[in-house]
């Protein structure tokens, strides 16, 4: 079946989270909300990583999604979650599609660097343009659902869970499809794929647009969850680095991994910030190094091991 075990786990787990969200304290719900929102961008990076591509500028799309929400809100007063999401997805998707024509021919470090350059161009524009909020960014009005303006964040949390479940299942289906399978094949041997008669460039392009859309959606959800956008934490290269970091932390093993990895990251940062306000970067950076050195499969590989051992 196309809708496989992983997909059912994702749906069940996110449904459980959505229900649990009603009972848990607000701060945990917030952490989960931020984690899940960011996880979508990480899911996009995972799709790229399966082909061996790592983007050091994915905050470009994350920021595009977030700023689309902000500009829709400020200029047109759009507060509906669905319209915002559609807007963010369209903007990041179309721009990703255009940029993809260039980037699909790039690999390795060149891919990483060109992505970085593009994201820094956007950063440079936002930071120097007063109409885009400069360094301050914008606050965003509370989201509404078909005209309803509910109190509290719980409805948004449920919405995020639903969007995440849909995206994760869609990505899982994509990875199980012929085109998705080619992800691994391209990473392994591009020449062979090309000589078997498949356009590597097209396959990479599809992948790139998919990851752009996911990052755009992530930016949109994050902007609404926080009620704020700003260039330094959403578009700057450090934001891109953070996304790649979470990807490594999660591991490429499964579409579930980004969700776990993102929440772990969110908790790691929160507690590091609380316990060692002067050394939280040290803790985060140290974790990254440890994972690269000793745990190349990320958090997911640990989970696989633990679950596997029981059987």
């Amino acid at each position: 079946m196309f809708f496989d075990r992983t997909s059912s786990i994702v749906v069940i787990a996110l449904f459980a989270c959505a229900v649990a969200g009603y009972f848990i304290p607000d701060w945990i719900m917030n952490q989960l909300m931020f984690g899940f929102a960011r996880a979508l961008a990480v899911l996009g990076l995972l799709v790229l990583w399966r082909t061996g591509l790592i983007s050091f500028g994915h905050a470009f799309y994350f920021g595009l999604g977030a700023y689309t929400v902000a500009l829709l809100d400020i200029n047109l007063g759009v507060s509906d979650v669905f319209l915002r999401l559609v807007g963010a997805v369209l903007v990041s998707g179309v721009i990703g599609w255009i940029v993809g024509f260039v980037l699909r021919n790039y690999r390795d470090i060149f891919f990483a660097m060109l992505s970085l350059a593009l994201s820094m161009v956007l950063y440079g524009i936002i930071v120097k343009t007063e109409a885009l909020g400069s360094t301050d960014g914008f606050s965003i009005s509370a989201p509404t659902f078909f005209g309803f303006a509910p109190d509290g964040k719980y409805p948004l949390f449920v919405f995020i869970c639903v969007v995440c479940a849909i995206c994760a299942v869609a990505v899982q289906m994509y990875l199980n499809s012929t085109l998705g399978w080619m992800t691994t094949a391209i990473r392994d041997n591009e020449v062979r794929v090309e000589y078997l008669g498949l356009s590597v460039a097209n396959a990479v392009h599809v992948k790139y647009v998919l990851s752009a859309v996911l990052a755009g959606a992530a930016g949109c959800l994050m902007a609404m969850a926080l009620g704020q956008v700003d260039p330094d934490s959403m578009v700057n290269w450090t934001a891109s680095g953070e996304l790649v970091f979470i990807t490594i932390l999660s591991g490429p093993g499964s579409v579930i991994a980004p969700f776990i990895g993102s929440v772990v990251f969110e908790l790691l940062r929160t507690y590091a910030f609380e316990w060692a306000p002067h050394a939280w970067q040290l803790i985060v950076g140290g974790t990254l190094l440890t994972i690269i050195l000793f745990l190349p499969g990320g958090v997911w590989s640990v989970i696989e091991k633990v679950v596997g051992k029981k059987s």
């Binding site: 499809s177 012929t178 691994t184 094949a185 020449v191 000589y195 356009s199």
Partner: protein, 259 residues
């Protein structure tokens, strides 16, 4: 020679890298069903020729017509889709995948176009086709081995098996027996050539071993310094003094046996 129109017509083909001439004035007509051996010392331009025909390199001048259609400027995948396939001197397999997955990947690409690419990868009909291929190339016992760990011979077979899956009308094999022990060479060539002959596929293969050349081909083309110095039947070619001097005299030592 038959009178039917050539399946592949190469005219005035030329390739230069800066000041280095890798191929010049290459003219070949290939008739359907022919099996041609390409010989020549290292650096004589054999692989450059194959690379040009399969779209990996763009020639500096000349034309390559396949079934009457110009091929120059087409990327490799278009050439493959048109009906020309190839294997590689250094086997190009998916070295992190199992043998079965390698074949499945090739089958999936060959069977999917456009939106079909969104269909599920692991479909029953692909798996059964895969079994046929594994049987035909006698690599079924390696089904679950990772391709990167295979012996040279099995890897060659896998490489060629994948190249044939797209049902090419011309197949170019780049040194199919290189790095393989003398005993295994003939077995490998038998496994490879039998189905190709059955399907009447035109084959061009680069080879250093003159025994192999003698046994399998109907025609020999010899390269020297980027040019064709000989294009004749195997017996005539191997007796040609130019071939004797520039090809066999410089080739692998054991190849002399064939002379």
């Amino acid at each position: 020679m038959t009178d039917s129109s050539p399946i592949l017509k190469v005219e005035g083909l030329e390739k230069t890298f800066g000041a280095v001439v890798a191929a010049s004035n290459i003219n070949i007509d290939v008739q359907p069903g022919e099996i041609i051996g390409i010989i020549g010392a290292n650096g004589a331009g054999k692989t450059t020729f194959v690379n040009m025909v399969t779209g990996y390199l763009t020639p500096s001048a000349g034309s390559i017509q396949f079934e009457g259609r110009e091929m120059i400027g087409l990327p490799p995948r278009k050439v493959t889709q048109a009906g020309i396939s190839r294997s590689f001197q250094v086997s190009q397999v998916f070295s992190t995948m199992t043998v079965e997955e390698n074949i499945l990947t090739a089958l999936a690409i060959a069977s999917n176009t456009g939106l079909g690419a969104l269909r599920q990868m692991m479909r029953p009909e692909l798996v059964s086709k895969c079994n046929d291929v594994l049987e035909r190339y006698q690599i079924a016992q390696h089904r679950d081995h990772t391709a990167g760990t295979l012996s040279q011979g099995v890897r060659k077979l896998l490489d060629i098996a994948m190249a044939v899956i797209s049902k090419p009308r011309i197949l170019l094999l780049d040194e199919p027996t290189s790095g393989i022990s003398v005993e295994e060479k003939f077995d490998l060539m038998d496994i490879v050539m039998t189905p190709l002959r059955e399907d009447n596929v035109t084959v061009l293969f680069i080879e250093h071993d003159m025994e192999i050349v003698e046994r399998y081909v109907s025609r020999v083309i010899a390269f020297y310094q980027g040019e064709i110095i000989c294009d004749e039947s195997p017996t005539e070619a191997l007796a040609d003094p130019k071939v004797q001097e520039y090809v066999i005299g410089t080739s692998h030592p054991h190849a002399k046996k064939g002379a």
